[in-house]
């Protein structure tokens, strides 16, 4: 097995130290940081995401794989900058104002980072203005919102309205998720996308941003 496959394989098993060791080895032997990222780390995380989506594995497996991904990514970061390898695009995420639940949102962040996106996580209890202001300031084309409460999910609409009123429709897209949400709800509030879980969120985000 070549070293990139080994990295992908170790990542799937959640072996963070081994992924770090192999990443360092690959870089030393002259493999480009871009290849380590795309053909090693992201390739491995794609398998994990797919297995999770198909319910073949559970959340703990994904969390361990993500931890292994970070171990490799930390080592890669300076090399990626040197090689000028762009990450896949920026995404602003957060749990909507009034809602303090963030495990689901954190998972989406982990999966997005695992897929190579740059994630700006605003945490929980996020004001609608903060979502839009951050996306504008950071040049992020996508806002991801989460809610676990039926009382807070209705507030997602304010973010969509804010994007419209500032003339940003089309430039900043929105995707929503959370236990009480549904595709119908997303359509009703005018969100561009809906995802039922972290793995699906990655697929939808890729589609919304037009990246493979």
């Amino acid at each position: 097995m070549d070293i990139l496959n080994q990295i992908a394989d170790s990542l799937q098993k959640g072996e963070d130290q081994q992924v770090g060791t192999l990443t360092a080895e690959a870089l030393e032997s002259g493999v480009s940081a871009g290849d380590v990222l795309n053909k090693g780390l992201i390739a491995g995380m794609n398998v994990v995401g797919e297995q999770f989506r198909l319910r073949e594995i559970f959340l703990p497996d994904v969390l361990l794989a993500a931890r292994a991904m970070y171990a490799g990514l930390e080592l890669l970061r300076p090399h990626l900058a040197k090689e000028g390898v762009p990450l896949r695009g920026k995404v602003v995420i957060g749990t909507i104002k009034g809602d303090l639940h963030d495990i689901g949102k954190n998972l989406v962040g982990i999966m997005l980072k695992g897929a190579g996106f740059e994630v700006i996580d605003l945490g929980h209890d996020v004001e609608p203005e903060a979502f839009v202001d951050t996306a504008v300031r950071e040049g992020a084309p996508l806002i991801g919102m989460s809610a676990l409460l039926t009382t807070t999910m209705v507030r997602m609409k304010e973010v969509v309205a804010l994007i419209e009123s500032r003339g940003l429709s089309g430039q900043i897209k929105t995707i929503v998720g959370g236990a009480p949400l549904s595709p119908e709800f997303a359509r009703e509030i005018g969100a561009d996308g809906y995802a039922s879980d972290g793995a699906t969120a990655v697929e939808r985000v890729k589609a919304l941003l037009g990246v493979a």
Partner: protein, 298 residues
């Protein structure tokens, strides 16, 4: 009043209560505020809801302390009020039920991911449960109700904390399962069988399942639970999944629809049936009637 263990030992089937969050919101819980806050500022609201559930026929009434660990209260800057919140919540329910129902002191998840998946140590959540249960026990709870757990390590830490701090009180411990092509599992990948074994080993007197996606799946979960459990089994399902109707959010399972599955649950050997999210005093009334009808036949 006769305790939980004695009643279950006699073979009595019991009825729990229904949702609290929606009831609190209808009575003025401020938007975004912790439900536990009500115990500090308006304990009379707790008494009112508790009476509704007793009048509906609940044998157990839950305290509004689900988020009463310091971890959860800290999200609302209320961790300094941990002692008062948990104490006043128990005392309010105790006053309201006035011996007509058992005071079931709720303990929910810390909201943290435990090592190695997250940054919180099992010892830290254990300590948080110790602090909460110590207050719940000394304030006069009749049992500790550990619920909506997904991580078995966290659930067993809570059970152990309860047994250490309130050794005289029975502990009910329920987890939330979802359907999966291979059976029912929690989001953390704990199977019904693993949950049953782990919770009993930690010392739980009653084990079970709460929350989830409605009565249909709860019957499936109960089938697995009653097959493997060595202690009485409790189920407290949601009234289905929430759906949006315009600006409103509704739970679609009617009291009648839920009550229709009660005989099946009781035939399986389930010892306690109550409700979780979206259930109301009307749901509890329907469950009570169904349980009574089944017991009259038995």
């Amino acid at each position: 009043m006769e305790g939980l263990r004695e009643r279950l030992r006699r073979g009595e089937r019991l009825v729990g209560d229904g949702a609290w969050g929606t009831q609190l919101m209808q009575r003025g819980l401020p938007d975004g505020q912790a439900p536990e806050w009500i115990a500090l500022e308006r304990p009379e609201v707790i008494e009112e809801i508790a009476r509704l559930y007793v009048d509906a026929g609940a044998d157990l009434v839950t305290t509004d302390t689900f988020g009463g660990t310091s971890f959860r209260l800290a999200l609302h800057d209320l961790e300094g009020e941990q002692e008062r919140i948990n104490r006043q919540a128990v005392e309010a329910v105790r006053r309201a039920v006035a011996g007509r129902a058992l005071v079931s002191a709720s303990v929910g998840p810390s909201g943290r991911l435990l090592e190695p998946y997250g940054d919180t140590s099992p010892e830290a959540v254990h300590q948080a449960f110790v602090e909460q249960v110590r207050v719940l026990g000394s304030a006069g709870a009749d049992l500790i109700c550990i619920e909506t757990m997904s991580d078995l390590t966290e659930a067993t830490q809570a059970v152990r904390a309860a047994k250490e701090q309130a050794p005289g009180l029975p502990v009910m411990a329920t987890m939330t399962f979802e359907p999966n092509p291979r059976g029912y599992y929690t989001v953390m990948g704990v199977s019904v069988e693993q949950a049953a074994a782990g919770l009993v080993e930690a010392g739980a007197d009653v084990i079970g399942s709460n929350c989830g996606i409605g009565m249909e799946h709860m019957v499936g979960i109960a089938r697995e639970l009653t097959r493997v459990a060595t202690v009485p089994v409790a189920v407290q399902p949601n009234a289905g999944l929430p759906e949006t109707k315009g600006a409103n959010v509704v739970y679609n399972e009617t009291p009648e629809a839920m009550a229709a599955r009660v005989p099946e649950l009781l035939d399986l050997g389930v010892a306690l049936i109550g409700g979780c999210c979206g259930t109301t005093p009307d749901h509890i009334r329907a469950l009570r009637a169904a349980v009574d009808a089944w017991q009259a036949r038995a």
